[in-house]
Symmetry: C2
Subunit: 174 residues, 2 copies
DNA sequence: TTGCGATAGTTTGCATCTAAACGATCATCC
DNA sequence: GGATGATCGTTTAGATGCAAACTATCGCAA
């Protein structure tokens, strides 16, 4: 296994003499990122239990609360999941009385998804939990750190967009 | 968490919105983090297809490759998943000929999990894919950015540890 | 009008994950 | 030695995810 991946800045570093000071190994940072995400996912799952919501359900409901009347396909696009997944998710949310499927005039294939009163109340609790948790954890870091994180995550995302190969869902005509 | 495109609805709000503040809203950075992770997960899933591995399988195998002979419970602890999950995961890896369950002298309840020759070869390919992908994306950022990310992620993780409530798996002498 | 491709949603089969119940084994205390 | 509780792995039920096949409907063109 010879470091085939380490090319990019090694080349630069080879040109200019000085060794990158305490060169942070990208792979190590990657692993730290992945582990942190696992922690956050677990923590958020636990937090949202107080509202009897799973993360998936909360994601769907909070998206709906910002744009009521979306179709399942719209929702699938926004949530980066398949429409088959949304189908079952909505089924369960309808069964729980949090969401309604309303017939859509002009297209009998799709429905307009709307929150019920209970759904609105529930997602409100979820959003409060999210706000509280994020403030308590990420929000407790130094503002400069939060700003730095924001900036680097943006740069990383831009790099992924360039790379292209990722997140390739069925977008048509982008 | 999702809150993807602030589509047509929010255009009004955007007009009246003041200015990007010096201190970025933690919630916004949180959402950026979550979305970026989704992208990375999808991209890595696609990359690992070349080695015919799922992310879960790769995680398990790469952990085993660093500490061969672990029990399923050990693995569950390291991977932050339940032992029931590991049970099925190992079943399928054994069926694929990548992992072996060896009887453990002194404890007939557990097995020592070992990579087969094929397993070692496969995880090697997976690791190469991972290295390459990480170098190409995260590794392409400025070293200072990677270092900043590393530092802030560490601070965030420390904050989570203080917070305690998260990632609450059965810790026993971890 | 008729036909055909595109789109929305459902369904199926499978992988992954949790929580919880269960069986086997181990460790310990009496 | 024997009861008892802890630990390991398995199993079950159910939620979540994908891919792909399928149904119904829509849009468009001939």
């Amino acid at each position: 296994m010879a470091l085939e991946g380490a090319s990019r800045h090694d080349r630069r570093a080879a040109d200019t003499a000085p060794k990158p000071l305490a060169a942070p190994d990208a792979l190590r940072v990657w692993l730290r990122f992945v582990r942190l995400n696992r922690r956050l996912h677990g923590a958020m799952t636990a937090e949202l239990k107080a509202a009897r919501l799973s993360i998936s359900q909360f994601d769907l409901l909070s998206t709906l609360s910002e744009a009521e009347g979306l179709s399942q396909q719209d929702l699938a696009d926004r949530l980066y999941v398949t429409k088959g997944n949304v189908s079952g998710l909505v089924d369960r949310l309808v069964a729980s009385g949090l969401v309604e499927r309303r017939p859509l005039a002009g297209d009998r294939r799709s429905h307009a998804l709307c929150l019920t009163a209970l759904g609105r109340e529930t997602v409100g609790r979820g959003l409060a939990i999210q706000r509280t948790y994020v403030s308590r954890t990420l929000g407790a870091l130094a503002p400069a750190d939060i700003a730095a994180l924001d900036r680097v995550l943006g740069a990383w995302r831009d790099r992924l967009r360039q790379d292209g190969s990722g997140s390739g869902r069925k977008s048509k005509g982008g």
